[in-house]
């Protein structure tokens, strides 16, 4: 096949974050910071039971409380027109749909909003909400995945349903060396700094403007348009800055619709900012997932069979599925593989994708099991992976569009000093601490979707690029500016303006699944290339490399020269399997008496094509590694299943790593372009930054102590047990 003849731009330091100064000076305006005249505030009263029926609800005191404009409950809330038509037509009917607030008297999970108070201040709304008293008829609830595993069944819809089998997976049973183990990843909660925000303002009877925390202004625009039966263009959604999301703003949640509904009722702008407690059960979480990996290998370390089973929780009203077991199908060259994925419905709100999504959960099990297998074989875990390296995709036989995993193993091993690692666990010490080294691999699909970008050369000398994509903090604006600047080499970076986060701009997909650099970057690349060609035509042949754009536009009497380009991946991609890979290397210290684990060093290597924006790419890898340390050592949403309530739904008790937990983290890049995916040769890296990291930590802990912890998080008590 013919490769596009392109050169790899040199791997430079890259440009600074284009919005960095705005962010550190407070000039960046986040969604909750918009103030509109006459703005009001909404606060929810929530259910204290987990399952049942509201038999009565007393809102009189709340209605009389100072500053209150309205109290919405299922008894009085105005209808949301789109809710009338029943289920979301875009989804197969069997998979259910999101909860709709205030449509009936049922309670489906603890913490479910049962009323919404709108008042002239947040404090007054909060106080009034505390006065609402409901009576319930309680029903027996189930919130414990472990206890309800027996009810698990294959999902009815979605992409992750169905068992997978190739060859004779049971072959693992007769293998020379075997591993058969269970692994648990508990509930993880996204917990970005920025809370969920919706500020809705009806500017006319059939027109609404919304400032929202969302990862996709277009999808939020569509959801609101559908719910209120409005023409899409009558809904304006703006999201200029996002203070982290990690997946919890990928979909439009019912409280956002309720906010728009309330604004219509009170005829004033209504702002809802969820409390930290409500973040835990209103905007999704990584589901509790039980897994079992059974694998066998010949004495020389060749895999003969793998079975990877997973059961995750979902809500009673909606199927949520993710690719937990999918990686096992193609990661290693194993002739016989079986995967089984099930979900069990519980009286909880619906989970959602959280960074690395199901793959991060799955990689914890698969990459832990590989480490266990290497240990049993008495070989180096990297060696085991190399012996089972898949040169072509074993799931479909296709060649990989590019894969430099072996090189990534080498780079990382070198950097962390892997040669110091001992095969026998518990043999290295430093200053009285046990020392261990571990590694884990991550993988995530690398595709390119469709996006539309408008690029314009203005006679002020500015290159203006516009598309609706959001930047959830990853540095999209910076990466896009970098791509444009490499095409328009004559335009200084500060003259390139990338406008995003506005639903009236040309459509881009929702930010998630590591697709934006490829998809939107590809469209920016194409738009800039076409704009440059258009300019060349304008000046005729013989133009220089660095033309004077301003002079030419002025001469031609053109205020601006623009193109709007829609582009997507090539059909050629169908012939290839395309993935981004990461390899994480971790050195840990474990205190032999107290069981305290400290991560001492991390080296993460990304094989994700050409790195278009080195600085923000490095930040992505560091952020993912930190997320992985959190997942490995501390994150767990803990519920008291007797009540179906979280007991740690705050920042003090739900632990994420703080600065003192974070060691030196080196981000390395293989940086080999894959031009099959897009013209920059770039593949995504947001997800792989985290996928595989928790296994690397767990494997390092095993190497330090000889204790294999298969249930995250690895807290000191588990190491003392």
């Amino acid at each position: 096949m013919k490769q596009q003849a392109q050169h790899t731009p040199p791997f430079t330091e890259g440009i600074n974050r284009v919005d960095g100064i705005m962010k550190v000076t407070g000039a960046a305006k986040y969604s909750a910071e918009y103030e509109l005249p006459g703005m009001t505030y909404a606060v929810f009263a929530i259910s204290n039971i987990t399952k049942g029926i509201i038999t009565s609800i007393d809102i009189k005191a709340a209605e009389r409380a100072p500053g209150v404009l309205a109290v919405l409950t299922h008894l009085n809330a105005p209808k949301v027109p789109g809710y009338e038509s029943g289920k979301d037509p875009s989804k197969p009917p069997t998979t259910g749909g999101p909860l709709k607030f205030f449509v009936d008297n049922t309670v489906k999970y603890n913490g479910q909003p049962i009323a919404m108070v709108v008042a002239d201040s947040f404090e007054r709304a909060t106080y009034a909400a505390s006065l609402i008293k409901a009576q319930y008829k309680k029903e027996q609830h189930e919130t414990d995945t472990e206890k309800n595993k027996f009810k698990a069944a294959a999902p009815k819809g979605g992409r992750n349903g169905g068992d997978y089998k190739r060859g004779t997976p049971d072959d693992w049973k007769t293998a020379a060396v075997k591993v058969e183990q269970e692994y648990v990843v508990p509930i993880n909660v996204h917990n970005p700094m920025e809370l969920s925000v919706t500020l809705a303002h009806w500017t006319a009877d059939d027109k609404v403007t919304v400032y929202a925390k969302t990862q996709g202004v277009k999808s939020t625009q569509n959801a609101i348009a559908q719910a209120f039966k409005l023409p899409v263009e009558n809904v304006q959604v703006t999201t200029k800055f996002v203070g982290g999301a990690f997946g919890n703003a990928l979909r439009t949640w019912p409280h956002e619709i309720a906010t728009v509904q309330a604004a219509k009722l009170v005829k004033r702008p209504v702002k809802t900012v969820l409390t930290r407690e409500l973040q835990f059960n209103t905007v999704g979480y990584r589901p509790y997932t039980w897994q079992k990996v059974s694998m066998g290998a010949s004495a020389d370390g060749k895999l003969t069979g793998i079975i990877h089973e997973a059961t995750a929780q979902t809500s009673s009203f909606e199927e949520f599925t993710e690719g937990t077991v999918n990686m096992t199908r193609f990661m290693y060259a194993c002739p016989s593989v079986g995967t089984v994925y099930k979900i069990t419905p519980l009286d909880v709100n619906t989970p959602t994708w959280m960074r690395g999504p199901g793959e991060a959960t799955g990689a914890f099990a698969l990459e832990s099991a590989m480490d266990e297998l290497a240990d049993k074989l008495g070989i180096d875990p990297i060696e085991l992976r190399i012996r089972n390296h898949a040169d072509t995709d074993p799931e479909n036989g296709k060649p990989f569009s590019s894969k430099n995993l072996k090189e990534a193993y080498e780079m990382g091993a070198d950097k962390i000093g892997w040669s110091k690692r001992k095969l026998k666990p518990g043999t290295l010490t430093e200053d009285g601490w046990l020392i261990g080294y571990g590694m884990g691999t991550g993988v995530f699909g690398a595709g390119r979707g469709r996006a539309t970008v408008k690029a314009a050369l203005l006679d002020s000398g500015t290159l203006l690029i516009q598309t609706s994509v959001t930047d959830i903090g990853v540095g999209t604006g910076t990466a896009m500016t970098q791509i444009a600047s490499e095409i328009f080499t004559g335009i200084p970076v500060k003259k390139i303006k990338f406008e995003l986060g506005d639903s009236s701009l040309p459509p881009s997909p929702t930010q998630g699944g590591s697709t934006i650099t490829s998809t939107v970057g590809g469209a920016v690349h194409d738009a800039c290339t076409q704009l440059k060609e258009k300019f060349q035509q304008l000046i005729g042949n013989g133009g220089t490399d660095k033309p004077d754009y301003v002079k030419v536009l002025k001469e031609k009497n053109l205020p601006q020269l623009e193109v709007t380009v829609t582009s997507s991946g090539s059909t050629e991609m169908r012939n290839f399997s395309s993935y981004s890979y990461s390899v994480h290397f971790v050195k840990v210290k474990v205190h032999p008496k107290t069981g305290v684990v400290r991560v001492d060093n991390v080296v993460s290597v990304a094989d994700s094509g050409h790195i278009v924006s080195p600085k923000t790419a490095r930040s992505q890898i560091i952020g993912g590694a930190i997320g992985g340390i959190g997942m490995a050592l501390m994150e767990e949403g803990i519920m008291d299943h007797r009540y179906g309530r979280y007991v740690n739904n705050n920042y003090a008790d739900y632990h994420v790593p703080i600065s003192a937990d974070i060691p030196q983290i080196d981000a390395l890049f293989v940086n080999k372009p894959d031009y099959r995916v897009n013209p920059m040769g770039a593949k995504g890296m947001g997800e792989i930054a985290l996928i595989g990291m928790s296994a690397a930590v767990a494997n390092a802990v095993y190497n330090a102590t000889g204790k294999r912890i298969r249930e995250l998080p690895i807290t000191p008590d588990k190491l003392l047990a």
């Binding site: 505390s130 008291d640 007797r642 007991v647 703080i658 003192a660 000191p716 008590d717």
Partner: protein
Amino acid sequence: MKQFQYIRPATQQSVLDAITKPGARILAGGSNLIDLMKRGVTSPDKLVDIQKLPLKGISKSTGNVSSISIGALELNSAVAENKLIKEEFPLLSMALNAGASPQLRNMATVGGNMMQRTRCTYFYDTAMPCNKREPNSGCGAMEGINRMHAIFGTSEKCIAVHPSDMCVALAALDASVEVKSKKGTRYIPFTEFHRLPGETPQLDNTLTTGELITRVIIPHNNFAKNSYYLKVRDRASYAFALISVAVGLDIQGGNIKEARLAMGGVAHKPWRLKAAEQFLKGKPATVANFEQAASLAMQGAKSFGHNDFKLKMAPASIIEALSNAAKLS
């Protein structure tokens, strides 16, 4: 949040006048009280902000026994960094620096730290049963999630722990608390300031309505050279102790002349380990002796399921803290 009155009197007398009713509550740094009010755990009618009172300052008095006095409004961060404290009672400085986060330590006062309430999650969630918040509503933690809970001095009614680090050090240092009320001044030995839950878990300590903490006084000791505060926690900072141990040793020629030991994260009050102290007195500072002291200290411990690990972690931590204080290893 319920509406309340807020006052900020300028004199001690007017504070004492204002706090005679149970509905009035003293406000210092606010880092605990305001949280509890937001969560609806406590709803005072009146907040008496004491920040205008001259209750700051750290000073040394030389008498028969010299001592250091710390004002009740002195900030946790200021005490931790104070030169006198670092020289004479490094244990206190270490314990303070192990608590919360720099931001919180910059708000938290000595009096407020002593009076902070348990972090038991059932206590914080008004939809859950809790005998401490609502007497006779039941104890949510007993058969619930009790990983952080007590293993010593528990009662049928409550198994909560006192969350402070500072107080563990002050208990080990034999501090005393100066308290003023309209009736006058009294001094409470630090180890008697907090109490065990017993039948009345709603009472954290022995301070009564109308009383104001004005100072903490620490008598001179010879532990400065061999002190250690060990805090075992789920992350490196900004987490409450699973177990903490405060150690002060007076070691002369390899022998322990005096020992002070207290534990945090194990009881409703800072838990002094008198039997272990007694055992160590006069003995050489060896790991073998520390092990015996630890097993003495653990007598009577009782766990509740999720906190079973504390039965292992606590003695291991005692040995580790003693070894560090004695500079073994």
